[in-house]
């Protein structure tokens, strides 16, 4: 047996088996936790074992004696029928209509259009796929581990009588398998099946709590992603008409490029499906609604993996539309999303919504990178994808832990969190630091993106503005967490072991990956940079250098570490310094934040953060941003014609 085939099979099939076990084992908590832990460990091990074996292509014809293609066709039909069922159950006309359209179109494609047997080399794994597999398997599994104590608390808190955790973990694991399948297969019909599977999982998980608002938001996610699904089928049809193939690697080989309108239309429709999946404007509302789901869901689906499908697909498709108007308009669209997402995040005081908008914003920047379509920008996009997945997962898990502790997700309620949950607060603040500061990976990729975008005025202006807005909402949050008169000695709070085991490795991993960015670049990204791209950066002195820019990662990390050591020593010494009350412009009463006001009465001094919602509030911006996003989407589709 070929090890590569075995590992690929494990990566896709093991989560499905784990999922079935979770559902089948009933309410036994120990058994379910064991299944989740074992499945996660198997996934992590397989992904790591797979790493040295890429790139490869494999043919896959049969599974357990059944023809694989027929199997996927049948599964696809079943999946659409399930969606149709939910459409009827909730009497949602749009979902019904979109499911029927997809069924008809998919049947048309498979039965009437596709001539002859399809090539069987369906599995394609290069380093981009590998990067996604590693993120899904490692970060995804860690999130599932943390979900075990989280869901226990969650059900306790909501006083759920009959545990619904079997269903929850069934869908979570199913999702991991679906994601691995999506990035490992090359055949569009297979990708489409997994694409729809993630849509369904997302719907089920958002609606998990069965409250009115959860159901409503779940349905919104379902119909919007069905729009993406329909665009995906149409894109497949157009691509097949133009190239006679459904293999991505065949489609993207360039000869069709000259003036093939149908071909570009196909790519534009596939990009549209990606934008929906990645919740770009004007489709952002499903992702914001998804924040009602339990936090591990937000971490897994809505920040680190599922929304990455969109950017993954467009990064894949990018060589196909290099140098076209389509590429240019994708860049502008992405930069617009980056700016608009950042602006809307500034206006939010709800922590999870800030994370959601920040996710949309960062995904927009990755789209912009794919659209700029130079070697430098592609490198930036791929690095950002990896770093964002790890750090955002960590931030979501921290907010989840905070939320369960203080029973609020509002940033104002997190004021002085350091006094209550010092370790979680510190991890969150380090996450924030890794999002906006050099020498960490997110900023490294942003720097690369900016240097790559400098010749495109539309893009660079929007990216410059968005980048400044990004700093505001992160700095504000970090400061709020550390705000307190005096925290006393550092004593880590109590949390379930699995929570620390999730937060710790993600935090350390993000830091170490940042320092190792040059190596990550050489090992994971250079192999993907085949024609028309080239390895644009050289690694010199532990930094990345090209003809017009240089980022000395390793030296800067060393210097930053020195600075950190000095600052920590200063911190330790400050514990011995005299602690005084903040200045309140009056005689203090001895209690923090109280001063003697008129008539000798104690007055409490209070200050809240600026959220600037007259400028950046949702009520003010959403309509305009949707309009802008809509216009740019029209430009993309029109430009492809």
């Amino acid at each position: 047996m070929d090890l590569r085939a075995v590992l690929t099979a494990i990566l896709v099939v093991a989560p499905f088996c784990g999922a079935l076990l979770c559902a089948g084992l009933g309410t036994s908590k120990t058994a379910r936790s064991t299944v989740v832990l074992v499945t996660g460990t198997v996934l992590i091990a397989s992904a790591l074992l797979l790493a040295p074996l890429v790139p490869f292509r494999l043919s896959a014809t049969a599974f357990l004696g059944m023809d694989l293609h027929r199997l996927v066709q049948a599964a696809d039909a079943v999946l659409l029928l399930i969606i149709l069922y939910f459409g009827f159950k909730h009497r949602h006309l749009l979902i019904i209509a979109l499911a029927v359209i997809q069924l008809v179109l998919a049947a048309y494609l498979e039965v009437f259009l596709v001539k002859g047997p399809l090539p069987t080399e369906r599995i394609f794994c290069d380093h981009l796929s590998l990067m996604l597999v590693l993120i899904i398997s490692i970060v995804g599994s860690i999130i599932c581990f943390q979900a075990i104590p989280y869901m226990e608390n969650h059900e306790h808190h909501y006083r759920v009588m009959k545990s619904r955790q079997p269903r929850f973990f069934f869908v979570m694991l199913l999702f991991l398998g679906g994601m691995n399948g999506l990035v490992l297969f090359d055949d569009l019909t297979f990708i489409y099946f997994f694409f729809e599977l993630t849509t369904l999982c997302s719907f089920l998980l958002i609606g998990h709590d069965r409250t009115t608002i959860a159901t409503r938001n779940g349905l919104r996610a379902l119909w919007m992603n069905s729009v993406g699904g329909a665009a995906f089928v149409l894109g497949m049809i157009a691509a097949y008409e133009a190239t006679g193939s459904l293999q991505l690697q065949t489609i993207l080989v360039a000869p069709w490029l000259s003036g093939a309108g149908m071909y570009l239309l196909g790519l534009a429709l596939l990009s549209l499906a990606s934008f929906v999946k990645s919740a770009q404007f004007p489709f952002q509302s499903w992702l914001l609604g998804a924040m009602v789901a339990p936090t591990p869901v937000s971490a897994l689906l809505h920040s680190s993996t599922m929304v990455k499908v969109g950017v993954y697909l467009v990064l894949r498709l990018a060589p196909g539309f290099i140098g076209t108007l389509l590429s240019e308009s994708v860049a502008v669209f992405g930069a617009f999303s980056f700016l608009a997402g950042a602006a809307l995040a500034v206006g939010q005081s709800n922590g999870k919504k800030v994370l959601a908008y920040s996710t949309i914003s960062n995904l927009g920047l990755i789209f912009a990178c794919a659209g700029l379509n130079t070697a430098e920008s592609m490198i930036a996009g791929m690095l950002l994808l990896a770093f964002h997945a790890v750090i955002k997962a960590m931030l979501f898990l921290s907010v989840g832990a905070i939320e369960q502790h203080i029973e609020s997700r509002d940033i104002e309620d997190m004021r002085g969190l350091y006094a209550v949950m010092p370790l979680t607060a510190l991890i969150t603040v380090s996450g924030v630091i890794m999002m906006i500061m050099p020498p960490f990976g997110v900023l490294l990729s942003k720097w690369m993106a900016m240097e790559a975008a400098a010749r495109n005025l539309f893009v660079i202006v929007m990216v410059a503005l968005g980048s400044a807005l990004t700093v505001i909402y992160w700095a504000r949050w970090a400061g709020t967490l550390m705000s307190d008169p005096f925290a006393g000695r550092f004593r880590p709070e109590r949390q379930p072991m699995l929570t620390w085991l999730a937060l710790g490795p993600l935090c350390a991993g993000a830091g170490i990956l940042s320092v190792l960015a040059p190596w990550l670049y050489l090992r994971m990204i250079v192999p993907v940079l085949t024609s028309p791209y080239s390895p644009a950066y050289a690694v010199r002195g532990g930094g990345l250098v090209n003809a017009y820019g240089a980022f000395a990662i390793l030296p800067l990390s060393v210097v930053a570490l020195l600075g950190l050591v000095v600052a920590v020593i200063a911190l330790k010494r400050a514990f011995r310094a005299t602690i005084v009350s903040p200045y309140l412009s009056g005689i203090q009463t001895g209690e923090p934040q109280m001063f003697r006001g008129p008539m000798n009465q104690p007055v409490k001094a209070e200050a809240k953060n600026y959220y600037l919602d007259t400028i950046f509030g949702e009520a003010r911006l959403t309509d305009w941003v949707n309009l802008g996003g809509g216009i740019l989407l029209t430009l993309i589709l029109g430009g492809a014609l």
Binding site: V461, A475, T480, T578
Partner: protein
């Protein structure tokens, strides 16, 4: 190797020495404009040394941490400038310092610090995009972000980037904490926010923020000299004219609010930058 070491030492020394001198000259010039004599030119050094030896008092221990991070980032940014590194990278490193200064102020619960910190964030929001666009202007003209290439450019960049120089002036005014943009804190006695951002920094930590500020001032004045890097006289003229104008503007305008600042600086600054960048791209 020795050259690198010398450059690093120069960078580390230039911040406190030049920054302190500029600050002293600034105070004398300001005093003369207000018909006063003003303090001796070395007064800022006396002040900082005195602060450094005061008893450390903190509101929140994280303020000490943030003050050190601020000065670390500010000095690294200036050292990178002396090492002729990537200009965009230098910009990002100095932004780290600015963020830590804000986080330190937010870690106090005093409303004065809090509001000062938020105003500082709005000031950053105003000037950061402009600084990025100035850097982009350098790139469009010279084809590089590296200072080594930018300083080697044979013509004075001011001729090609006149509007971007004005834009840099806006950013400089905000960074120097000069009116009308001195919203978060400033060197003069404005009443409504006490010392704003810096209200709860005291003693040695206040001294650190002051030295950090000197590093930032020297860095930005260094960026100004890039506009005429071909001759020493040009650099000196440019610096003197710019700084005198800054002090003049500081003395003839009053503190405005953040709404005005944001709309004015983005409106004028972005328009000027775009016009200049389009020239560069077409030319």
């Amino acid at each position: 190797m020795t050259r690198t070491a010398i450059l690093i030492a120069c960078g580390l020394a230039a911040g406190p020495v030049l920054g302190g001198l500029v600050s002293g000259l600034d105070r004398i010039l300001t005093a003369r404009m207000q018909s006063r004599i003003g303090p001796p030119v070395l007064q800022p050094f006396y002040d900082v040394v005195k602060l450094l030896f005061k008893e450390p008092l903190v509101v929140n221990v994280w303020q000490a941490f943030c003050a050190y991070c601020y000065i670390a980032a500010a000095s690294i940014a200036l050292v990178l400038f002396f090492l002729q590194s990537d200009l965009l990278l230098i910009f990002f490193v100095q932004a780290v310092g600015a963020v830590f200064l804000v986080v330190g102020a937010l870690s106090s619960t005093s409303p004065y610090s809090q509001i000062g910190a938020h105003r500082e964030l709005l000031q950053m929001l105003s000037y950061e995009p402009l600084l990025v666009l100035v850097v982009v202007g350098f790139y469009l003209e010279t084809g590089s972000f590296k200072l080594a290439d930018i300083t080697a450019w044979p013509q004075p960049l001011l001729l090609k980037l006149p509007f971007l120089f004005i834009v840099l002036g806006y950013a400089l005014t905000i960074k120097l904490r000069k009116s009308p943009f001195d919203l978060s804190t400033c060197h003069h006695a404005h009443q409504e926010l006490v010392k704003g951002l810096l209200t709860d920094y005291s003693g040695p930590f206040l001294a650190l923020t002051e030295i950090g500020h000197w590093f930032e001032v020297v860095l930005l004045l260094g960026v100004c000299t890039l506009f005429w890097s071909t001759s020493w006289i040009g650099m000196a003229v440019l610096l003197v004219v710019t700084y005198v104008l800054e002090v003049l503007v500081d003395n003839i305008t009053s503190r405005m609010n953040w709404r005005w600042m944001l709309s004015y600086v983005w409106g004028v600054g972005l328009t000027l930058s775009l016009v200049n960048l389009i020239w560069l791209q077409q030319g």
